[in-house]
């Protein structure tokens, strides 16, 4: 008897394509996506797009650039860049991080740490981890490509701080070590004895000094948009409830027809999405200090456009399905995949380059770029207008298609 139940369960599963898809295909697809993302993020496959500017063009700087570009984790952005164009590339997200071997800094071989360091990192605060990764790769390249410079600096250090190891010298070494120990707590502005690779580096925030260096803003946008999509799809399912109850038929027979139902639900979903976004960013503001009030105009514009997109997409995904089972599965699958690829779960710079490019197909990427633009790069409403228009435009196109599919719901 038990096997009869097992048989019935399997037969039902085989006849329910939605459930079959969810049970067998979706897990595999998700595994592939997350394996691709996390193998990159956790392993040594992370590849940074770096905007490199060599203002010095000395023998040392050329050797350093050459060594850096030979590191597998580094992918230079092509072109003859200036400091400003590199900064712009990082701001726009075309490059993950920028490196300037600056003409207005100390020389690589003689950097003392007292004047401007020879290397300037151009960092987008929303991707600050990329600077840390680049610093590590830079250090590796430096010691690989410029060992003579590195050892020369050590020799200089020995020559400066130590002498030959005769008894007399030993006494001097002891005295030198004592001076090193003393210099560890040296006051700011005085040059500590010894040298560090950090003496060569300076970090420059491309967003300017007003950017809130706060990862919470990124995840507020990421989570808000993902759940905006989920809530919209769930809310759109109500159309099928109305269809099953006969309400859709009744309303469609009225003077407004099915268009009234679709438009009404669209406006409801936009409002719901906006309230949802307000709640998430409200908490981010109150609990974590994300500067929502200071960026209220651009933030509101993005949130409205994101809600329009989510509402349109949710309606399209639901009305496009032929059965309720499909409508319960398909939107979930599509939204999860879009969220994974689009950066709602893991920042996109952790992903391989090709997957980052694919991410631009998803609205998640657009919305996250827009929110990053507001909270990291302090972009204005005008600068954000194209991406917002894109979001809203796609939402309205989806709404139009939902009307077409909606008529199918009540058509005999």
């Amino acid at each position: 008897m038990t096997w009869s139940v097992v048989r019935a369960c399997f037969l039902l599963l085989l006849r329910d394509r939605g459930a079959l898809l969810m049970a067998l295909i979706v897990p595999v697809v998700f595994f592939l996506i997350f394996a691709t993302i996390f193998a990159t993020a956790a392993g040594d496959q992370l590849q940074l797009r770096i905007a490199i500017v060599d203002e010095v063009n000395s023998e040392d700087s050329l050797r350093l650039v050459k060594a850096l570009t030979e590191v597998p984790a580094v992918r230079p952005v092509p072109g003859n860049l200036t400091r400003e164009s590199a900064r712009d590339l990082v701001r726009r997200g075309t490059a993950d991080v920028g490196l300037v071997i600056r003409a207005d800094g100390e020389a690589l071989a003689t950097a003392s740490g007292l004047a401007a360091p020879p290397l300037l990192l151009l960092v987008d605060p929303s991707r600050s981890v990329t600077a840390t990764v680049l610093a590590g790769q830079l250090q590796r390249a430096y010691f690989t490509a410029l060992p003579d410079v590195a050892v020369g600096r050590v020799a200089e250090l020995i020559g400066t701080e130590f002498t030959e190891f005769t008894p007399a010298q030993q006494a001097e070494i002891d005295a030198g070590l004592a001076r090193l120990r003393e210099s560890a707590g040296a006051a700011e502005g005085s040059r500590p004895a010894g040298w560090s690779f950090d003496d060569l580096l300076e970090r420059d925030n491309v967003a300017g000094q007003n950017a809130a260096l706060n990862n919470v803003a990124y995840y507020a946008g990421a989570v808000a948009f993902m759940f905006l999509l989920f809530a919209a799809a769930q809310g759109a399912l109500g159309i099928l409830d109305d269809q099953e109850a006969g309400l859709l038929d009744r309303i469609a027979a009225g003077p407004g027809g099915i268009d009234v139902v679709i438009n009404g639900r669209f406006l409801y979903l936009v409002t719901q999405g906006l309230v949802q976004t307000c709640l998430i960013f409200g908490v981010a503001w109150l609990a974590y200090g994300v500067d929502v009030p200071g960026n209220f105009g651009p933030w509101l514009m993005i949130s409205i456009c994101s809600s329009v997109l989510a509402a349109g997409l949710g309606l399209l995904l639901v009305t496009g399905c032929r059965t309720r089972a499909q409508a319960q599965v398909l939107p979930t699958v599509v939204i999860l995949i879009m969220s994974a690829v689009g950066g709602s779960m893991v920042p996109r710079f952790f992903m391989p380059h090709w997957l980052q490019q694919v991410g631009w197909i998803t609205p998640n990427t657009w919305a996250l770029e827009a929110y990053s633009g507001v909270f990291w790069r302090s972009e204005t409403a005008l600068q954000l207008a194209p991406i917002c228009l894109g979001l809203a435009g796609i939402g309205l196109v989806a709404l139009g298609l939902s009307h077409w599919f909606g008529r199918r719901l009540v058509r005999d």
């Binding site: 109850a245 006969g246 009744r250 027979a253 009225g254 003077p255 407004g256 005999d412």
Partner: protein
């Protein structure tokens, strides 16, 4: 509103196919203001398709439907038509009043007219005292009455009802009948489908019998019966077993019609009861193993059987 003499509804040659299946095969129909027209027919006869075509929910492949001179899908015409689906097409978790207010607006009522229309509908449907309770908590009969009320808020000239009493007990059915009669008395034309012949006899001013996607006949019940049977009686023959082919042929020659039950045949008896022994003798002579032979005054049941060749459900 159309006058009493001019038809409010005129259907001519309504044709509609769904793939290979022909749901309407050239149906003709008329309806006047202030009358109840009941659509009868076996499953698949085209009743629901015709009703949905009248509601503008199904487009015809050929033929025409005019309601007050306009096509059903035209917006002004939709304002003159009310549609009550077979299911309880309401939001079960919302109160009765809220349902009616929303559906009133969706039916095209101006905002300032909704309140009065809802109050009126609650009064005539006898639900004023339950107006603030969620629909789902009410009895089946009450839900049906609200379902109907929701279709009438904009005071349509023509109200279409798809099996408005299906699944109700006799008492609840009576309460719905009273509501429908009240609407007719207000001058509304009602067209409804049903499988219940008793309901049709109770409510109908006229009956339209459909079979195979066409309207076989449409008139008052006495005229339909008189036209089909004249002074003949209706005879029900129940055989003890399925008839052999020879017996089937014989039954057809003496104008008996088969039904959807193989042992049940229905015919007519001319000249009164004195002809019954002779009929019985001929049947036995042809090899019929008679289980029951009954004579009755022809009525809507006989009309249904005669026109559709099937026995109604009820």
């Amino acid at each position: 509103m159309a006058s009493k003499t001019e038809p409010l509804l005129v259907v001519r040659g309504a044709l509609r196919r769904f793939g290979d299946r022909t749901a309407l095969a050239g149906a003709d129909l008329t309806a006047r203001a202030g009358e109840v027209l009941v659509l009868l027919g076996p499953n698949g006869a085209g009743k629901s398709t015709l009703l949905r075509a009248l509601a503008g929910r199904v487009r015809l492949d050929a033929g025409s439907i005019l309601i007050g001179g306009g096509a059903p899908h035209e917006r002004p015409v939709r304002r003159r038509v009310g549609y009550v689906p077979q299911s309880i097409a309401l939001w079960g978790r919302l109160p009765v009043r809220t349902n009616l207010e929303i559906l009133g607006r969706l039916a095209g009522l101006p905002r300032n007219a909704v309140k009065a229309a809802v109050t009126d509908a609650l009064a005539w449907s006898g639900l004023a005292e339950r107006a603030d309770e969620p629909v789902a908590t009410l009895s089946g009969g009450m839900q049906r009455r609200i379902n109907i009320a929701a279709g009438t808020l904009h005071r349509p000239d023509l109200l279409l009802l798809d099996e408005p009493t299906v699944g109700l007990d006799p008492l609840a059915r009576q309460s719905v009948h009273r509501v429908l009669e009240g609407l007719r008395d207000r001058g509304m034309a009602l067209i409804l489908t049903t499988h219940d012949l008793v309901e049709a006899e109770t409510l109908a001013d006229r009956v339209a019998v459909l079979a195979g996607g066409v309207v076989r006949a449409a008139d008052t019940i006495p005229i339909l019966v008189g036209g089909l049977f004249g002074s003949d009686q209706e005879v029900l023959l129940m055989l003890a077993s399925d008839p052999a082919p020879d017996l089937r042929d014989f039954l057809r020659t003496i104008l008996f019609s088969p039904t959807n039950e193989p042992c049940l045949w229905i015919g007519r008896l001319a000249g009164g009861l004195e002809g019954l022994p002779g009929l019985r003798h001929r049947l036995v002579g042809a090899g019929a193993d008679i289980d029951e032979l009954r004579v009755r005054q022809p009525g809507l049941h006989g009309v249904f059987v005669e026109l559709t060749g099937t026995v109604p459900h009820s």
